[in-house]
């Protein structure tokens, strides 16, 4: 008898609380790890303002894409844009939320941040393993006056699949024919040389610990870990420093409206001050969501982030989307997203 009473008490307890839990709006998202700090910052501020809760799980772009395809989350996030075909097949819409830059970093004795200049082809040949020593003639020719040691270069790349790798290899693929033939680009590739570190932290740690290394990390990690970055030559033959300005320069020239699926790739863009290894990070939503209220809540949150998230993005070393771009995206929301026949966004 006692047991029955306890069970009944438990049941009423659960039943009593369930409606309360449901009443609080909760948006679920999953995907890329790169924008996680940004999304959680936005979500925190948005929650303080509106009481809407967002739960973002940074399980990786692959997982995010799978979950939004299965509609188990309200939005997915990916660093690499999906192809138009993939988007159409699964009835998805993607749009950029922020821009970031990937920065080659080195650990060579006596060389300080910004001292070393590299071109795209030389960087590709280092990652191909054809340039083996730091004092190789091709590096020396670009850097007269820099004392380069006669040491073997240790190449560090990501061991896990990653949007950072996608952006970096996409750049190498564009500037080097040999790289294009041998490795190509993707979130993970068949690396011709080097050691793999797990995550941006892993690569940063390897570059810090091992002498004569070169690696690539997101800009924020290069800053936080005080790593030595290099200057890269862009399309217009200028050597530029990585900075929020040089990343936004890459976004300004891009043709968002005319690119199908908004799958704009920001590597190796035109422009005098453009950092050549930039990329956008994307949010993916369903064009025919099942939960209309949540779909609307997601778009409201993203709209608020476009409007008010710029300063927060900059403080975390991301580049916010220019107003001209976010306007294009919001028009696409209105045109393409339908929930039980009615447009979700007006």
């Amino acid at each position: 008898m006692k047991k029955i009473i306890i069970a009944a008490a438990l049941l009423t307890f659960v039943a009593g609380y369930a409606p309360v839990a449901m009443a609080e709006a909760l948006i679920n998202g999953a995907g890329a790890t790169f924008p996680y700090p940004l999304y959680s910052k936005w979500a925190y501020e948005y929650n303080k303002k509106t009481g809407v809760k967002m739960n973002y799980q940074s399980i990786g772009s692959g997982g995010g894409i799978k979950q939004i395809k299965a509609k188990t989350v309200d939005f997915g996030a990916s660093d690499a844009p999906l192809t138009t075909k993939d988007l159409n097949d699964s009835g998805l819409l993607q749009f950029p939320m922020a821009i970031g830059g990937v920065v080659p970093v080195i650990n060579v004795k006596g060389i300080k941040a910004g001292d070393l200049k590299l071109t795209g082809e030389v960087l590709a040949d280092i990652y191909l393993g054809t340039i083996k020593k730091w004092n190789d003639k091709r590096i020396a020719d670009l850097n007269p006056g820099v004392a380069l040691p006669d040491d073997t270069i240790t190449v560090v790349h990501r061991s896990d699949g990653s949007g950072t790798t996608w952006i970096f290899t996409n750049y190498l693929d564009k500037v080097s024919k040999v790289w294009h033939d041998k490795a190509g680009f993707g979130t993970a590739v068949n690396w011709p040389a080097g050691v793999g570190g797990k995550g941006n932290e892993g690569v940063a740690t390897y570059v810090k610990r091992i002498k004569n290394t070169i690696g690539y990390v997101e800009y924020a990690y290069a800053l936080q870990n005080k790593l030595v970055h290099v200057k890269l030559q862009n399309r217009e033959k200028n050597f530029v420093e990585p900075s929020i300005e040089s990343f936004s320069a890459a976004a300004l020239g891009a043709d968002w409206k005319g690119t199908s699926g908004f799958a704009v790739v920001l590597t190796d863009q035109d422009g005098k001050g453009t950092w050549p290894i930039s990329g956008a990070t994307f949010i993916i939503v369903s064009k025919s969501p099942e939960n209309c209220a949540n779909a609307k809540a997601v778009l409201e949150f993203l709209d608020w982030s476009y409007e008010n998230g710029g300063q927060m993005a900059r403080s975390l070393d991301y580049v916010p989307m220019p107003k001209s771009v976010s306007d294009v995206m919001e028009r696409a929301w209105a045109a393409d997203i339908r929930c039980s026949g009615a447009p979700v966004w007006k």
Binding site: G62, K66, D160, V189, N190, G196, K198, R209, I210
Partner: protein, 313 residues
């Protein structure tokens, strides 16, 4: 009297009920294993069909082209575990024999507890410690002399990065020493003291008692302990991922970066979008399942043989 009969009747029902329930639990273990195997086969079917048996001996790993092979991962898994066993077994034996046969009584408790504590540290901690502390030590003080004095061997000809097959073997050794030594200690402790005493009684030295009486008696248990350690080394993930260097290459050189099955899974599962990529990763898991199964089966056979010998003597 009637009361007793009633009780027995009730017990009979309870007994058969209990038997049924415990039988169900026991069988569910086997069912679970078969289910896991079935799911692994089902999920890796795409890659099994695409690459066939060639998957096992192909060393391709090209996510862009969708061409995969398991050989580098299998090689790394087995070689790093062998390195770990080669280092860990003598050390663990030393610890176990010291604790049971030589240590003063007041020292046994603290050392034994310390070993058990080591065994309970999560592997991610070993990984971080390995990356931040062990790797720099290896690359500064251990690997350069290896290259200098043993560099003529193909095993030690590379650059001393502090990250690669050998460091991964090192961290695995440190991780499995607590397992091997504590089980070995318990096994040795179970050697009847009457055997040892008779050894001393006929004038045997401590060395002779240990090697001719204790070790032969405990042989099968000791082998079991080593296999337990090997099993953990084969499947260990995070610590290896941090230290092995994660490169899909096969190199004789133990200082070079390599990869293992579990490290590959930990690294690449989250971002594997294409079906064939995911399927190949699951097939790697299937291969690890089979390797572990074979190792355990061999161990059972070995133990059976040795204990038979021990019984006859």
């Amino acid at each position: 009297m009637k009361n007793v009969i009633d009780r027995h009747k009730a017990d009979k029902l309870g007994d058969s009920l209990f038997k049924g329930v415990s039988f169900f639990f026991a069988v569910s273990v086997i069912a679970l294993m078969i289910l896991i195997f079935a799911v692994l086969v089902k999920e890796s079917w795409l890659s099994l069909k695409a690459f066939g048996f060639g998957f096992v001996y192909s060393s391709a790993w090209d996510p862009v082209a969708g061409d995969f092979g398991a050989l580098p991962a299998i090689y790394g898994t087995i070689v790093s575990s062998i390195i770990a066993i080669v280092i860990a077994v003598p050390v663990s034996f030393g610890i176990a024999i010291f604790l049971t046969e030589m240590a003063p009584a007041w020292l046994r408790g603290p050392i034994g507890t310390a070993i058990e504590l080591l065994a309970s540290i999560p592997s991610i901690i070993y990984g971080m410690w390995g990356l931040f502390i062990l790797a720099p030590i290896l690359s500064e003080y251990v690997e350069p002399p290896l290259v200098e004095y043993l560099g003529f061997l193909p095993l030690f000809s590379g650059a001393p990065l502090g990250i690669g097959m050998l460091p991964a073997g090192f961290i695995l050794a440190i991780m499995i020493i607590p397992f091997i030594s504590s089980v070995t200690r318990d096994v040795i402790r179970m050697v009847p003291s009457i055997l040892k005493e008779s050894g001393y009684g006929v004038g045997a030295t401590k060395w002779e008692v240990i090697w001719k009486i204790v070790i032969p008696f405990a042989k099968s248990g000791i082998i079991g302990a080593v296999i337990l350690g090997l099993g953990r080394a084969l499947g260990e993930t995070m610590a290896v991922t941090f230290l092995i260097g994660n490169s899909h290459d096969i190199s004789m050189n133990l200082l070079d970066p390599a990869t293992s099955i579990s490290a590959t899974l930990a690294n690449e599962f989250t971002e594997a979008v294409e079906d064939i990529y995911l399927s190949s990763l699951v097939e790697l898991g299937l291969i690890l399942f089979v390797i572990t199964f074979v190792v355990l089966a061999l161990a059972k056979l070995l133990i059976a043989r040795f204990s038979y010998d021990g019984g006859r003597r």
